[in-house]
């Protein structure tokens, strides 16, 4: 049996230079390519440029130089044909003082593929009271509504900036489940967060931003092929990075013996930021 993997290039970023001030560049000659059928986890310290990269992809900010191509469009032109294929869930958002029905009537018709049944299903899953006015809902409930709305648009590119902020623990689990089921072959999901644990078992590729560029872009498979994450009693020379824990150390080592281990995103995040030069040759 042959499996044909049809990888659709969805986003091309070429030599992107961007910054809010000319003297303080956020990205220097950044290049990136993202494909359909993946859930990307965008990680980085505060101020590393996670939200700014997402805004560049959505055409909400303009780069100083370089090219951004999303689904064959230049996002800065803000053409409806592209906008209807992008679902952008911002960290801070606004909902008008109306009920869900009115909100839906006003906004859903812009998206040709909007799936009303799916939206209703998601609201049920998130346990949202449909008769309540949006403005009277809690921050978490509002967030669930815009997530449900965004997913129901059936957009090809789903961009989420800190989507789990404001969600309670059961809702975070629901969110992970829903996002995993939302991924299709022709859809690309990018989730930015600083709460790396929220992305556990959800993302298939990690993108890490640091020092004006991409510090790491690798699939979970590739990472666990090249690195192993395990608990050790003592530190030795083979360990690239370790953090003290109650029973010893949580360590990252080169995976010389093809050991199977579970990716610890938080540990990897800290490891890359601390020992960037040691990891670079492994993933180049």
């Amino acid at each position: 049996m042959y499996y044909l993997t049809n990888t659709v290039n969805m986003i091309h970023v070429n030599n992107l230079n961007f910054g809010y001030s000319k003297h303080k560049p956020l990205f220097k000659n950044m290049s990136l390519q993202l494909n359909a059928g993946h859930i990307y986890g965008l990680l980085g310290k505060n101020g590393a440029g996670k939200s700014s990269l997402l805004k560049n992809l959505a055409g909400l900010v303009y780069a100083q130089s370089g090219k951004v191509n999303v689904l064959g469009f230049d996002p800065k032109k803000r053409q409806p044909a592209l906008l209807e294929q992008i679902c952008f869930i911002p960290e801070e958002f606004y909902l008008p003082a109306v009920k869900i029905d009115a909100y839906l009537k006003a906004n859903a018709p812009f998206y040709k593929k909007f799936n009303h049944n799916y939206f209703t299903e998601l609201l049920k899953e998130f346990d949202i009271p449909v008769s309540q006015k949006l403005i009277d809902m809690s921050y978490g409930q509002k967030k669930k509504i815009i997530i449900a709305f965004g997913l129901a648009t059936q957009a090809k590119l789903i961009i989420m900036d800190e989507p789990t902020n404001g969600l309670d623990i059961p809702s975070k689990a629901q969110f992970r489940k829903i996002m995993a089921s939302a991924l299709t072959d022709d859809c690309c999901i990018i989730i930015s967060t600083h709460q790396v644990r929220d992305l556990d078992n959800l993302i298939d590729t990690v993108i890490m931003l640091d020092e004006n560029d991409i510090a790491l872009k690798a699939s979970v498979e590739e990472i666990t092929e090249k690195l192993t994450f395990k608990k050790v009693k003592e530190i030795d020379a083979s360990i690239i990075y370790a953090e003290q824990s109650l029973s010893g150390y949580n360590a990252v080592l080169p995976n010389y013996h093809q050991e199977e281990s579970k990716l610890d995103i938080e540990l990897l995040f800290n490891a890359i930021l601390t020992e960037k030069t040691k990891f670079k040759p492994l993933f180049d």
Binding site: L83, E84, E92, F93, A102, A106
Partner: protein, 267 residues
């Protein structure tokens, strides 16, 4: 589907904008109606003081002042609140990501602020005026029956349409609501906070500067001189025509600037 303008998408956008902007607009319209009613209530002449020997309609000239001031105030308030969402980060992302073209978003702004606000003001003013004039005429009808010299009051629409001079002023000022709304629409996207006050201050400063400079330079050029050219500029309607054309150019310039500002808006 056309990425610049599509009539279905534009219709959807107008409906969507109504959800948010409609409340501001209707609220302002209700307040305007209230102020109009109060103004008429206060300034309408008392039927006790009607001069029975006059051979003309009762004097209702206060209406022109009320019409001008309230009209410009209303349309400028509406225009200065249209793009305020773009000054707030959370709201602006939602607005910019709505799948409609920049041109459609701009035209929707012009529709609500110039066309809808102006026409609704004219309608509300006409209805209030009609109601008060009808009531007033009802009150003086017995005097008209007994004194043929007294004529009933006319609605403002009748008064203007039956007077050539008024009609001329009206014709040459047709562009002015568009000029005012174009300035305040630009102010609503240019400033992040206190849109109305900031725009009003800029308009006042610019007007004072422009009038002073014009007066100064005209004085320099024509003081102690005698006009020996043709009489073209001695005709009021030619001067009004030039003013209208300048206002048209200014309006278009402000609209183009607003469009560019919307196009270049970043979050």
């Amino acid at each position: 589907m056309n990425n610049t303008f599509n009539i279905n998408r534009f219709g959807l956008l107008l409906k969507r904008q109504w959800l948010d902007f409609g409340k501001v607009y209707l609220g302002t319209l209700i307040i305007l109606t209230g102020i109009l009613v109060v103004a008429y209530w206060i300034f309408m002449p008392s039927t006790d003081n009607i001069m029975l020997n006059i051979r003309k309609s009762p004097e209702l000239s206060f209406r022109y002042l009320v019409f001008t001031f309230l009209g410009f105030f209303f349309i400028s308030i509406v225009a200065s609140s249209y793009f305020i969402n773009l000054g707030k980060k959370a709201d602006s992302i939602v607005e910019l990501m709505i799948p409609a073209s920049i041109f459609e978003k701009f035209v929707s702004g012009v529709f609500y602020t110039s066309i809808l606000s102006t026409s609704s003001f004219l309608l509300v003013f006409y209805l209030v005026d009609l109601a008060f004039v009808t009531f007033f005429n009802g009150q003086i009808s017995h005097m008209i029956d007994s004194n043929l010299a007294l004529k009933p009051a006319e609605t403002i629409v009748n008064e203007v349409s039956n007077d050539t001079q008024y009609l001329n002023y009206f014709k040459y000022n047709l562009i002015s609501p568009f000029t005012v709304t174009s300035i305040f629409l630009l102010g609503s996207i240019y400033f992040k906070r206190f849109h109305y006050i900031k725009t009003a201050i800029v308009v006042i400063l610019f007007t004072v500067l422009w009038v002073s400079l014009t007066f100064y330079f005209m004085n320099l050029m024509i003081a102690d001189t005698v006009w020996i050219g043709n009489q073209y500029w001695h005709n009021d309607s030619h001067i009004f025509l030039i003013f209208s054309l300048v206002a048209l150019v200014v309006t278009i310039a402000f609209w183009i600037t607003t469009y560019i500002r919307l196009k270049e808006k970043e979050v």
